[in-house]
């Protein structure tokens, strides 16, 4: 199957809109203030986010959507990952696809009802204000009303910018969720790209031994490897999104995207911390936020066992 992986004019316009919105309204620096944590910053500008019209992007027009597809959604998810936007926004993009009645679907598309992600027998992430939870369980995902789940607050987890509520059970009637797999891969790819950019920018500015550290091959080659890993994850994720539903093996394409995106986001986030040296180890530097977020987001959906089964089938 021949694919053109370059975004067309409309696709670029969608991406540009979300990227510039996030740069203005939800920059990563917001997370330095605890008041922005747990999806609070997103809740504050929820009306503006809804006006972007993202949540029905991939739904057919007769279902209240814009009739576009997974490639457009993947571009949005990638941009969300770059800015470490609360997983609730990504869940809101996914939830209308899982809604079983029209009223719920419409409310999710308009943003009137909010959604977030959860893991069965695990945690709901940034659950404050979300009526609907996209719960991942064995075999896929299901859309559950928050009120139907048994939840308990916790003191927080690995990513201190997120909230974690414990769920007992909650898997419900999980449906295959390959579309969500591709979008999680896109979010992680965004992290892999953002950390590459951050490391490269720092390597150009930070001087030691009388020159920018990016002139040294130890740093330059690490940056080149970061860019290469990000590129591999990105092209595979966009490929999987572009051919989705067109007769290739979506399970294998999605599993490859997730595997590569996990590796790229984890490795690049770590390399970014290392490139920043002592600063990278501080709370003040944003580098650690990307690693923490990548590690939490990778818990959503398929695990390594499921992916290797798909990839070696």
């Amino acid at each position: 199957m021949i694919v053109d992986l370059i975004p067309d004019e409309d696709q670029s316009a969608i991406e540009d809109t979300i990227v510039s919105f996030l740069a203005d309204v939800l920059p990563v620096e917001r997370l330095r203030d605890a008041k922005a944590h747990g999806g609070a910053a997103e809740a504050e500008v929820w009306g503006q986010i809804c006006e972007l019209g993202l949540f029905g992007l991939g739904l057919p027009e007769d279902q209240g959507g814009l009739g576009l597809g997974l490639p457009e959604e993947a571009l949005v998810a990638r941009a969300l990952g770059r800015n470490l936007v609360s997983p609730g926004v990504l869940a809101q993009l996914c939830a209308p696809h899982l809604a079983t009645d029209e009223a719920t679907r419409d409310a999710l598309i308009s943003g009137e009802a909010r959604a977030t992600f959860g893991i069965a027998d695990g945690y709901v992430l940034d659950g404050e204000g979300a009526e609907w939870i996209v719960v991942f369980g064995p075999g896929g995902a299901s859309l559950r009303a928050r009120s139907d789940l048994s939840l308990a607050a916790t003191d927080g987890g690995l990513d201190h910018t997120m909230t974690f509520e414990r769920i007992e059970g909650g898997a419900g009637n999980a449906q295959p969720a390959l579309r969500l797999e591709v979008l999680i891969a896109a979010y992680l790819t965004g992290i892999a790209q953002a950390t590459t950019d951050m490391a490269v920018d720092y390597a150009k500015q930070r001087e030691q031994f009388g020159q920018p550290i990016g002139a040294f091959q130890a740093i330059k080659h690490s940056c080149a490897d970061m860019a290469t890993r990000a590129s591999a994850a990105d092209t595979q994720t966009l490929f999987a999104a572009t051919v989705f539903g067109a007769g290739m093996d979506d399970a294998v394409e999605a599993a490859a995207a997730r595997t590569l995106a996990k590796r790229a986001s984890f490795e690049n986030a770590k390399a970014n911390i290392q490139t920043h040296g002592g600063m990278g180890f501080t709370d003040e530097c944003d580098a650690h936020l990307f690693l923490k977020r990548a590690m939490v987001m990778d818990m959503l959906g398929s695990d390594a066992r499921a992916r290797r089964a798909a990839l070696t089938a």
């Binding site: 021949i2 490639p71 390597a203 150009k204 920018p212 990016g214 002139a215 572009t242 990839l311």
Partner: protein, 383 residues
């Protein structure tokens, strides 16, 4: 981002498939004159079939295929088990395209037809013992004497030099200039007196490249392509010919190899364990990434963007991945992989080291990605 389909492309694919199925030759000899004859005969056959020079413009006898058609051709070529272009590679992918862009009419009419019809092949004379990654430091001399250039010096890592008729030769013609200046690109005659070719055996046990020694070798000045002392410019002009389709066959071949190892491991009594599956899944996802990276670079080619330094990302990825895939076969298959009979894992493994060295080592590619894709400073300066 979209799927590209059309009735024309589907019928082109069918045409490629049918012709390749009927004509692809099997059992290419590993080396020697038999290999040269095999490669040239296959080129002649493609010429008769109207497929020679798939990416060359039609006015020079090429097929003039669009980027998508080239992609389809290379995909079908790999699926049909087509042999490497081997002894014809330099002529088709570098010397010919250079001639098309920079040669004069006389040179084009003399050299291009014999490449396409498989009667004459080329080798490349760029690297020297002291000029490998640092190509611009080359020293092999060309002095003007009457109507000739007199060549003295040596070239190394010249693939198939012992089998070639002509050589794209880069020599220093202005001894007062350094680096990229003062070089000249000439058509070297591999039959010229004073030229000695000594084959070099590779770690894979094959004599695929050689060192060339030039002792007062006289080459007529009319063999200069482009301007005297402007050879660097001539050597670089072919880049526009590469639209990312050249690596499609390698990528498909590597993907097939991973599938083969997966099947072999799973067929063991007791099947594959989790550690083996994890390793295989990693490699499988990486060959899929290589396919997607290739698709992205072809996509850029479709939009007529001038190919940029991003090509180094695909090349770096391929060079590193191919070695991991071939090494994994030994970890996963155990002693079965040691024998040369059958699929010959040793040959694939030993040969594949060249991909992370030739045409730019992985380290040089990382420098290029760092400096030309990411904009990091050159350096470092001495401290």
């Amino acid at each position: 981002m979209k799927i590209v389909e059309s009735a024309e492309l589907a019928s082109f694919r069918e045409q490629c498939r049918d012709w390749l199925q009927d004509n692809v030759p099997k059992n290419r000899p590993d080396d020697g004159d038999a290999m040269r004859e095999f490669d040239l005969a296959w080129q002649a056959k493609q010429f008769e079939g109207g497929w020679a020079g798939i990416n060359w413009p039609t006015e020079y006898g090429g097929r003039g295929a669009s980027v998508l058609e080239q992609l389809i051709w290379h995909e079908e070529y790999a699926l049909a088990g087509g042999p490497p272009s081997g002894c014809m590679f330099v002529a088709l992918s570098h010397a010919g395209p250079t001639m098309i862009v920079s040669g004069n009419e006389e040179q084009k009419s003399k050299y291009l037809p014999t490449i396409l019809n498989g009667t004459e092949n080329w080798c490349q004379g760029f690297s020297e013992p002291g000029a490998g990654s640092d190509l611009a430091s080359l020293k092999c001399k060309g002095e003007i004497d009457g109507d000739d250039l007199v060549i003295n010096g040596t070239k190394i890592w010249t693939t198939y030099a012992q089998h070639a008729r002509w050589q794209e030769l880069l020599v220093r013609t202005d001894p007062n200039e350094t680096r990229h200046r003062g070089l000249t690109w000439i058509v070297g005659d591999m039959k010229a007196p004073g030229l000695e070719v000594r084959p070099i055996k590779t770690m894979a046990g094959l004599e695929h490249f050689a060192q060339c020694f030039y002792d007062d070798v006289r080459i007529p000045l009319k063999n200069v392509v482009g301007e005297v002392n402007q050879g660097w410019k001539t050597a670089m002009t072919t880049l526009g010919f590469e639209r990312g389709t050249g690596t499609v066959a390698h990528q498909i071949e590597l993907a097939t190899r991973v599938d083969r190892v997966i099947e072999a491991v799973k067929s063991f009594p007791g099947g594959a364990d989790d550690v083996q599956l994890e390793m295989l899944a990693g490699l499988k996802s990486e060959v899929m990434a290589l396919r997607s990276l290739t698709a992205a670079s072809i996509s850029r080619g479709m939009h007529e963007t001038v190919p940029g330094a991003e090509g180094n990302i695909v090349a770096l990825y391929f060079g590193e991945l191919t070695r991991r895939v071939n090494a994994a076969a030994f970890d996963l298959l155990g002693p079965h992989s040691l024998e040369r009979a059958g699929y010959n894992y040793p040959a694939h493994f030993l040969e594949c080291f060249k991909w992370a060295i030739g045409g730019g080592t992985s380290e040089i590619r990382r420098n290029t990605i760092g400096e030309r894709v990411l904009g990091l400073p050159k350096g470092p300066k001495a401290v």
